[in-house]
C-alpha cells in the first residue's frame, strides 16, 4: 500500500458518498488494480476468466499490435453484479483513478437500474464473472477428457453462433411442447348427446391420437439453444458448451445494446461527480478533466473528420442535453427504460446532431467516401444499423427433416441483402460437425435470387 493508494481509497469513499447524495443507486463495487497485460486480456475476452479458444488469440495479437502502436489504452473494465467488480489499470495515475472511480459508479448505477440489464441479470444471476470462470474450468476439463480437437470443434460452432440468441426467452428455456395442443373438444350439444346414446362405440372413436408438434414449431432465432436441445446426436458435454456460450451471450447483450447510453451515462457522471467533488485538489481535478476530454474526444487529434462515432462522446453529449433540458429525474427515467435504439431515436435531436456536426456518408467499395444529405431519421439508422439483432444477420432454424437435416433460413428481406457466402459456408461446416447431419441454409445471391448452401 502506497500513499497514493491511501489517498485514492479515501477519495473513493467520498466519491461514493457524493454519488449517493446525487441519487445514484448502485451495488457496492470491488476495485482491483491489475497490470496492463491483464487489462488487455479482459478487453480481449470480455470477461476476466473465459473459456479458451484460438480466436481469442487472434484478437489478443491485434490488441497487442494496437497497443504497441500506442493507439489505445484501457483505464478500467467493470463487471456488473452484486457486488460489482471493477478492474483498474495499475498504470493509472491518481487523477486517472479518481476519474475512473467516478466513471465506474456511473456504470454501476446504470447496470443496476436499466431494465434491459436487470432483465438479463435476472437470467444470468449477479455472478457472471464466477459463472464464466466456471465455464472455463468445465471446458478445460472437457479438453482433458475428450482432447483439444473435439472440444475445439464444438467451440468453433458455438462461438460462431454467439450472437444468435433470443434474449426475450428465458436462459433456462424449456423444450417445445412435444404434442400439438388438442383441438378444442366440441361442445356438448343435444345432438351429440343423443348420438352418443345411439351408438357409444362410434362416438368415442372420434378421439384422435395426439399429433407430434413439428420441430421447431415456428422459425427459431435462438440458435445456440436450439442446437443444444435438438441436435440429433450431440453428447451432453457438447450441449453444455453451447449453453455456456449462450449464457455468456446473455450477459454481453445488454452491454452491447446500451453501449451509447451506458458509456455516456458513466461519462456524464464522472464529469459531474468530479465537478462537485470539492475535496479533490485542483491539480488532480485538472489532470482528471484532461483525461476526460481524451476519453470523450470525438475525433483523433490529427484528423478533421471521423468516420465512426465515439459512443462515449455521443452518449455524454446527449445526456448533458437531456439533463439540461428535462432535468435529472426525467434523465433517470430514460436511463431506466431505454436501450440505444430508443435512446438515439427519441433523444438525438436535429439541433444536437448539428451541434455535434454528425453526418451521414456512403462508402464505396473502392474507398471513396461521400457525405450525404442531412436526414435525421436516416442518421439514426446509420448509427443504429450495426446494432440490430446483436450485430448479426437474422438467421433462423426453420425445420428439421426426418433424416435429421437442419434447415436454416436467412431473413434477407429483413436484412436487406444476402449473406457473405464464403463465410456462411464455413459456419455451416463448423455447425455440421456438431449437428452431425447435413445442414442447409437459404439466403440470396448478388442478384437477389434465393440460394441454398449445404454442408457437407
Amino acid at each position: 500500500m502506497t500513499s497514493t493508494d491511501d489517498t485514492w481509497q479515501s477519495y473513493t469513499q467520498r466519491i461514493e458518498e457524493l454519488a449517493g447524495r446525487l441519487g445514484l443507486k448502485f451495488h457496492p463495487v470491488d476495485f482491483e488494480a491489475v497490470p496492463d497485460t491483464f487489462m488487455m486480456e479482459i478487453a480481449v475476452y470480455g470477461l476476466p476468466v473465459r473459456m479458451p479458444h484460438w480466436s481469442f488469440g487472434v484478437r489478443y495479437i491485434y490488441q497487442l499490435i494496437q497497443r504497441h502502436m500506442g493507439h489505445s489504452r484501457l483505464f478500467e473494465v467493470v463487471f456488473p453484479g452484486n457486488p460489482g467488480h471493477a478492474y483498474l489499470a495499475s498504470s493509472n495515475g491518481l487523477a486517472e483513478n479518481v476519474l475512473v472511480t467516478a466513471h465506474v459508479l456511473g456504470h454501476a448505477d446504470f447496470s443496476r437500474n436499466n431494465l434491459l440489464f436487470q432483465r438479463c441479470q435476472e437470467q444470468v444471476s449477479e455472478h457472471i464473472v464466477e459463472h464464466a470462470a466456471n465455464h472455463a474450468r468445465q471446458i478445460q476439463q472437457a479438453i482433458e477428457t475428450h482432447g483439444v480437437q473435439r472440444v475445439e470443434a464444438v467451440l468453433d460452432a458455438a462461438l460462431a453462433l454467439e450472437q444468435h440468441i433470443d434474449v426475450d426467452q428465458s436462459l433456462r428455456r424449456a423444450r417445445y411442447p412435444e404434442y400439438l395442443e388438442d383441438k378444442r373438444t366440441p361442445e356438448e350439444d343435444d345432438f351429440r348427446k343423443r348420438f352418443a346414446q345411439l351408438e357409444p362405440a362410434a362416438a368415442s372413436s372420434g378421439i384422435e391420437p395426439k399429433k407430434r408438434a413439428p420441430v421447431p414449431p415456428h422459425p427459431e432465432r435462438d440458435l445456440l439453444w436450439f442446437v443444444a436441445q435438438y441436435a440429433p446426436e450431440m453428447e451432453s458435454w457438447e450441449r453444455d458448451i453451447f449453453l455456456a456460450v449462450r449464457e455468456e451471450s446473455f450477459y454481453f447483450y445488454p452491454v452491447f445494446a446500451t453501449q451509447i447510453m451506458n458509456e455516456g451515462w458513466a461519462s456524464y457522471w464522472h464529469a459531474r461527480l468530479l465537478r462537485e467533488a470539492d475535496f479533490v485538489p485542483q491539480q488532480a481535478y485538472v489532470d482528471a478533466i484532461k483525461c476526460h476530454s481524451d476519453v470523450v474526444r470525438p475525433i483523433a487529434a490529427d484528423q478533421q473528420v471521423a468516420l465512426s462515432i465515439n459512443p462515449y462522446h455521443l452518449g455524454f453529449a446527449m445526456w448533458e442535453k437531456i439533463v439540461e433540458s428535462e432535468g435529472l429525474e426525467a434523465a433517470r427515467d430514460i436511463m431506466i427504460q431505454d436501450d440505444d435504439f430508443a435512446f438515439v431515436r427519441n433523444h438525438l435531436t436535429r439541433e444536437l446532431a448539428e451541434e455535434l456536426s454528425l453526418f451521414r456518408y456512403s462508402a464505396r467499395s473502392d474507398g471513396q467516401i461521400k457525405v450525404l444529405e442531412q436526414d435525421l431519421t436516416a442518421l439514426h439508422e446509420a448509427i443504429l444499423s450495426p446494432k440490430y439483432n446483436f450485430g448479426a444477420p437474422s438467421v433462423l432454424a426453420k425445420r428439421v427433416r426426418n433424416d435429421g437435416t437442419l434447415e436454416l433460413v436467412h431473413d434477407y428481406a429483413l436484412d436487406g441483402r444476402g449473406l457473405d457466402l464464403e463465410r456462411s459456408r464455413k459456419v455451416l461446416d463448423y455447425l455440421q460437425r456438431v449437428w452431425r447431419r447435413p445442414v442447409q441454409l437459404t439466403t440470396t445471391n448478388q442478384a437477389g435470387l434465393a440460394l441454398e448452401l449445404t454442408a457437407p
Binding site: 491489475v34 497490470p35 497485460t37 486480456e41 475476452y45 479458451p52 479458444h53 484460438w54 488469440g57 487472434v58 495479437i61 491485434y62 490488441q63 500506442g70 489505445s72 489504452r73 484501457l74 483505464f75 498504470s91 475512473v100 468453433d156 462461438l159 460462431a160 454467439e162 458509456e263 458513466a266 481524451d294 476519453v295 474526444r297 470525438p298 475525433i299 484528423q303 473528420v305 471521423a306 468516420l307 465512426s308 462515432i309 462515449y312 456536426s357 454528425l358 453526418f359 451521414r360 456518408y361 456512403s362 467499395s365 474507398g367 471513396q368 467516401i369 461521400k370 457525405v371 450525404l372 444529405e373 442531412q374 442518421l379 450485430g391 444477420p393 457473405d420 463465410r423 459456419v427 448478388q446
Partner: protein, 392 residues
C-alpha cells in the same frame, strides 16, 4: 473506459504482476492459433513450396507468408455502397478518400469486427517438411540399386585396448571398469586394462551416388503455368531422392526440336518456340550419361515433363532413345503437364511410357493438371519406384 492516447503504461512489478501472469490466456490461445496455422500450412506445402531456386543449395528453410486465421461468423455480404455515420467538418456532397485505407492500418469498422490484415511469416526447415511429408504420406523409402563397382570408406568397427587417445571410448571403458570391480563401491580407479579404443576399418560400400536428369519440354505449346507445375514437381522429387542418396547430382536438359543442357538457374527461365521432338532430349541425356556417368557406379533417374504432343514422325526415334536410357536407369518417370485440358496420358509421349512400363521396365506416368496434384504425382512415382524395386 478507453482513450486514444500516446502514453504507454508503466508496469508495476512484484508478486502481484506475477500472479496475473498465471492467467496469460491470450498468449496460450495465440499459441493454439499458431499451431493451427502450421497444421494448415503443412497440408498445402506442395503448392506453397514451389521455389525452384531451392532445388540446389540455397537456404534450407522456406518462409511462408500466411494470413491470420479467421473465426467465421454469419455476415452480410459487403454491399457496393455502405452507409455510415461520422463526425466532423464535412458538408453534404463532400467527397474524400477513406483515410484509414491510406494508412493501411486495421481501423475497426462500425461493427468492431473488421480487422486489418496482418501477415505472419512462418519459417520451416525444408528437411523437416520432407521428413514430415514422407511420414504423413507413408511414402516408401527407396533402396539404392547396388552398382557393380563399389566405394571404399572408413567405418567404425570394434574396440581395441590400444589406440589413439582421440578414439578412447569412455562409456565402454567405464563398463570394463565396473565389470572388473564386480560391484560399485569405493571410488573407481581406471587401469590401462580397462581402456577401450574404437577401431576403424576400411570397408567397401555399395555405390550410393545418384544422378537425376530433369528433362523438360519447352516447346511453344508449354505455358508458363505448365513449366511452373513441372518445376514444383521436380523440386519434390529432388527432396525425396535426397533422403536416400548422400550425393545427388542434378542435370537439367530442355528440348524443343533440339536439346540443350542448362544450369538450374537458367533452366527454369528457358522458353522455346517450335515443335516437340522428344528423341533429341533423350539423345542428349544418353550422351551425358555416356560422357559423365557410369551406370554401374551410379543410380540414374530420369524425369520427363512435357505436354505430350510429340511429333508423330519422331515416335520411332523417341521409343529407341527412351529404351536405351531405361536400360541403364533405375527409374524413368513421365509427368504430363497439361493445364486446362486433362487428356489423361492419351498422347504420343504418354503411350511411349506406357509401352515401356508394359515391357517390364521401371517406368511410371502421371497426368499433372493442377498444383493440388503435385503431391499426388510425387506419391505416385515413389510408390511406383518401390514396386519396381520389389519386382526386380
Amino acid at each position: 473506459m478507453a482513450a486514444n492516447s500516446e502514453s504507454g503504461g508503466g508496469q508495476s512489478g512484484g508478486d502481484a504482476a506475477k500472479w496475473y501472469e498465471l492467467f496469460s490466456r491470450g498468449a496460450r490461445d495465440w499459441l493454439r492459433h499458431d499451431e493451427k496455422v502450421r497444421e494448415s500450412v503443412r497440408q498445402h506445402l506442395p503448392q506453397i513450396v514451389a521455389g525452384g531456386e531451392l532445388i540446389n543449395g540455397g537456404s534450407r528453410t522456406v518462409r511462408v507468408p500466411v494470413r491470420m486465421l479467421e473465426h467465421y461468423h454469419f455476415r452480410l455480404r459487403r454491399p457496393e455502397e455502405q452507409q455510415g455515420a461520422g463526425q466532423g467538418k464535412a458538408k453534404p456532397g463532400d467527397v474524400f478518400a477513406d483515410p484509414s485505407r491510406q494508412r493501411g492500418s486495421g481501423e475497426k469498422g462500425p461493427g468492431g469486427q473488421e480487422e486489418g490484415e496482418v501477415q505472419l511469416l512462418l519459417e520451416f526447415k525444408v528437411d523437416d517438411i520432407v521428413d514430415w511429408l514422407w511420414e504423413e504420406m507413408q511414402l516408401p523409402n527407396l533402396k539404392a540399386r547396388v552398382g557393380a563397382s563399389e566405394d571404399s570408406d572408413w567405418v567404425r568397427e570394434g574396440w581395441d585396448r590400444r589406440g589413439a587417445r582421440s578414439r578412447l571410448d569412455r562409456r565402454r571403458s567405464f563398463k570394463e571398469l565396473v565389470k572388473r570391480r564386480g560391484a560399485p563401491g569405493a571410488t573407481p580407479t581406471f587401469t590401462d586394462e580397462d581402456l577401450r579404443y574404437r577401431q576403424l576399418a576400411r570397408r567397401r560400400q555399395p555405390a550410393i551416388h545418384a544422378v537425376v536428369f530433369f528433362l523438360l519440354d519447352v516447346s511453344g505449346s508449354m505455358s508458363d503455368r505448365d513449366r511452373k507445375l513441372a518445376k514444383t514437381f521436380f523440386f519434390w522429387v529432388v527432396q525425396g531422392l535426397r533422403r536416400e542418396y548422400r550425393s545427388l547430382e542434378t542435370v537439367f536438359v530442355a528440348h524443343t526440336t533440339e536439346a540443350w543442357e542448362f544450369t538450374e538457374a537458367e533452366f527454369f527461365q528457358v522458353s522455346g518456340t517450335g515443335g516437340t521432338v522428344a528423341s533429341t532430349g533423350f539423345a542428349k541425356v544418353q550422351e551425358i550419361i555416356e560422357e559423365r556417368y557410369n551406370p554401374g557406379r551410379c543410380n540414374i533417374y530420369l524425369f520427363y515433363a512435357s505436354d505430350g504432343d510429340n511429333s508423330v514422325s519422331d515416335s520411332a526415334d523417341a521409343r529407341e532413345g527412351l529404351s536405351a536410357i531405361a536400360e541403364d536407369a533405375c527409374f524413368t518417370g513421365y509427368v504430363e503437364v497439361s493445364s486446362g485440358l486433362s487428356r489423361q496420358l492419351a498422347t504420343e509421349t504418354g503411350r511411349l511410357f506406357a509401352e515401356l512400363a508394359a515391357a517390364g521396365c521401371a517406368a511410371g506416368s502421371y497426368a499433372l493438371n493442377d498444383f493440388d496434384d503435385v503431391w499426388g504425382a510425387v506419391r505416385h512415382f515413389f510408390s511406383a519406384e518401390s514396386r519396381a524395386e520389389e519386382g526386380a
